[in-house]
């Protein structure tokens, strides 16, 4: 199956700041998480996919087209929800969504019907007749999502859709994103700096770090069914990590209490136990835990040091 979007050695700078460097990845159907800390280049990459930014180098293909050449023929097949607020506060939600459906080529009569349908689908019933300025942050995020879906795009780009939401609203939004990717069959690229939330809703991930792709692929493949060794001590986890690293074992101490070693090998476990004894640490827990994307990111950070 051809990729929905593909980037090959894409580069983009803003003045002397290198925003993206040698970015290569393929976007497949389903929900893909675009992960990275603030400033990692997520919004820049989304802008490149939309064709509103021009890459300094490399090539991009979205839905089989070059975003810079295709113009509106591509843009009307993409749905985009920006990170920040970009709508006038005195416009009613249904009017705004209808208007942006027309801006993406949906005839007026269909746009009116679809605006109501999609607002209902994202959980805005009677609220859809309210001005956006009177809505809560969560409702405004849903309006943003609705205008990105109203024209039935083949690719939906969501830039930090959980920004500003409280934990309950965040869970609701993530469930909604998951549902539009599965039940409604949209291909979604969701950007976030929160690893846990992306892991929950994504089939695939692209991890950006300092403008580079640190890892990409299916979440299940990346995690690979690993059961890393988790060591909890009263104190001295950092010293243990140093000792293990000196012996060739990658280990991440999140603080001075807990250490993660990404291996289920018995010899590695023996080395950990030997290290605990050697450093005379007080052991609280030693077990095989479930790997998370957060573990992968931490390990990459260690690798780059």
């Amino acid at each position: 199956m051809p990729a929905i979007a593909a980037a090959s050695h894409v580069q983009r700078s803003f003045g002397s700041v290198l925003a993206l460097s040698d970015v290569t990845f393929e976007l497949e159907k389903g929900v893909t998480g675009l992960l990275g800390a603030n400033g990692a280049g997520k919004t820049t990459l989304i802008s490149l996919l939309l064709g509103v930014l021009k890459p300094d180098g490399g090539s991009l293909q979205v839905l089989g087209m070059d975003p810079l050449q295709a113009g509106w023929r591509l843009r009307q097949r993409i749905g985009y929800a920006p990170e920040d607020e970009r709508f006038p506060p005195d416009v009613k939600a249904n009017e705004l969504v209808r208007h942006f459906a027309e801006m993406r080529g949906i005839p007026r009569r269909s746009a009116v019907v679809r605006a109501s349908e999609v607002l209902f689908e994202v959980g805005l019933g009677e609220e859809r007749f309210r001005p956006i300025g009177t809505m809560s942050t969560g409702q405004r995020q849903r309006v943003k999502l609705a205008q990105a879906l109203v024209h039935d795009p083949e690719l939906v780009l969501l830039d930090e859709p959980t920004n500003g939401l409280d934990p309950i609203q965040r869970d609701d939004m993530l469930a909604l994103v998951r549902r539009i990717g599965t039940d409604l069959g949209f291909t979604v690229l969701i950007s976030s700096h929160l690893l846990g939330e992306v892991e929950r809703v994504s089939d695939n991930v692209v991890m950006l770090e300092g403008g580079r792709v640190a890892r990409s692929g299916k979440v299940s493949t990346l995690l690979g069914g690993q059961t890393p060794i988790v060591v909890e001590v009263v104190s001295g986890a950092a010293r243990l990590a140093g000792l293990l690293a000196g012996r060739g074992y990658a280990a991440v101490a999140k603080d001075d209490l807990v250490l993660t070693v990404p291996s289920s090998d018995r010899r590695v476990r023996d080395a950990v136990v030997a290290g605990v004894i050697e450093l005379d640490l007080e052991l609280r827990r030693l077990e095989h835990g479930q790997a998370t994307l957060s573990d992968l990111f931490d390990l990459d950070a260690v690798d780059m040091k």
Binding site: L50, G51, V52, L53, K54, L68, G71, W72, R75, Q76, I78, Y80, P82, D84, E85, R86, F87, P88, P89, D90, V91, K92, E95, H99, F100, E102, M103, R104, G105, I106, P107, R108, S110, R114, E117, V118, F120, E121, P131, L149, H151, D152, L184, G185
Partner: protein, 292 residues
């Protein structure tokens, strides 16, 4: 993808229609459709349609002020005996020019400043539109909205005069006068609309833009009065008078007597030059919005 086909059912049996989200399988229109949709949306927006009452009040009052003199003139035309001299079409604008300035200062900023201030402009650039189509829609919108106060009242005046026996003699003259009325109104709308939109494009605050527009009109008018009065400047300085130039052009369209010793083509070229300059400012201001 998930289009649903109704299953065969006995006649008269009720069904529950699924009104939930469905994938769109209809026709998708191109960039010109979105241009027209934005144009129409902008006209309604600036007049306050589908917005709260406070956005309707000011345009409504200004439009009423612009139409009032023509309605009064119609009443006068009805009661005045035949042959009574009535204000001509060129002279009509002296009654409403202040309302036109005010309308320009309100409408032009409202058409473009909120899009930039709220970030909606960037959203338009991710739709079927590009900077050229966006600016074109806004320019045509400001011309259309201004035509409500520059063309409409004079057309009504012409209709009223004609109805009560003070209009042009004969159908040919009537058509010629109608042409002059439309041309004059459109010159005013295009000139003031483009210049004001260019000024408004320099800021994202409506109030700053409105102040800039009013100040431009007031200051150039005042400066020209000083230049032509005590300083005895030549006639050509009128060509840079954004307040008076279109009025002088209207006098030429109606072939009204004037003391200005400038050929009509120079006036027309100056009006066109200002419009092109305004469009150039808009093009420069928005050229980087589509792709950076």
């Amino acid at each position: 993808m998930s289009a649903r086909t109704p299953a065969a059912r006995p006649a008269g049996q009720a069904v529950i229609a699924d009104r939930r989200f469905q994938h769109y399988e209809g026709h998708r229109r191109g960039d010109m459709y979105s241009f027209a949709a934005l144009l129409w949306h902008s006209i309604l927006w600036v007049l306050g349609f589908k917005r709260s009452a406070r956005y309707k009040v000011v345009p409504g009052i200004v439009i009423a002020i612009a139409y009032l003199p023509s309605l009064v003139l119609i009443v006068v035309a009805e009661v005045a005996p035949p042959g009574t001299p009535l204000p001509d079409y060129a002279g009509f604008y002296q009654f409403v020019i202040s309302a036109i300035y005010l309308f320009v200062a309100i409408t032009a900023p409202e058409l473009i400043c909120p899009d930039r201030r709220h970030g909606t402009l960037r959203m338009y650039m991710t739709s079927n539109l590009n900077p050229t189509l966006y600016v074109a829609a806004k320019v045509v919108a400001v011309w259309s909205v201004l035509a409500i106060v520059t063309v409409g009242p004079v057309v009504i005046e012409l209709a009223g005069y004609s109805l009560f026996g003070h209009g042009p003699a004969g159908f040919g003259d009537w058509l010629k006068t109608l042409g002059e009325v439309l041309a004059s109104g459109l010159v005013l709308a295009m000139f003031f609309g483009t210049v004001a939109l260019a000024i408004a494009s320099l800021t994202d605050r409506n109030s700053f833009a409105a102040a800039g527009i009013i100040l431009s009109f007031v200051l150039t008018g005042a400066a020209l009065r000083i230049l032509q009065g005590p300083l005895k400047a030549p006639d050509w300085v009128e060509l840079v008078n954004v307040t008076g130039l279109p009025i002088l052009m209207i006098d030429r369209i109606y072939q009204a007597p004037t003391s200005l010793n400038l050929p009509t083509w120079e006036l027309a070229a100056a009006v066109a030059g200002w419009v092109v300059l305004g469009l150039g400012v808009l093009a420069l201001r928005y050229r980087g919005e589509g792709r950076r």
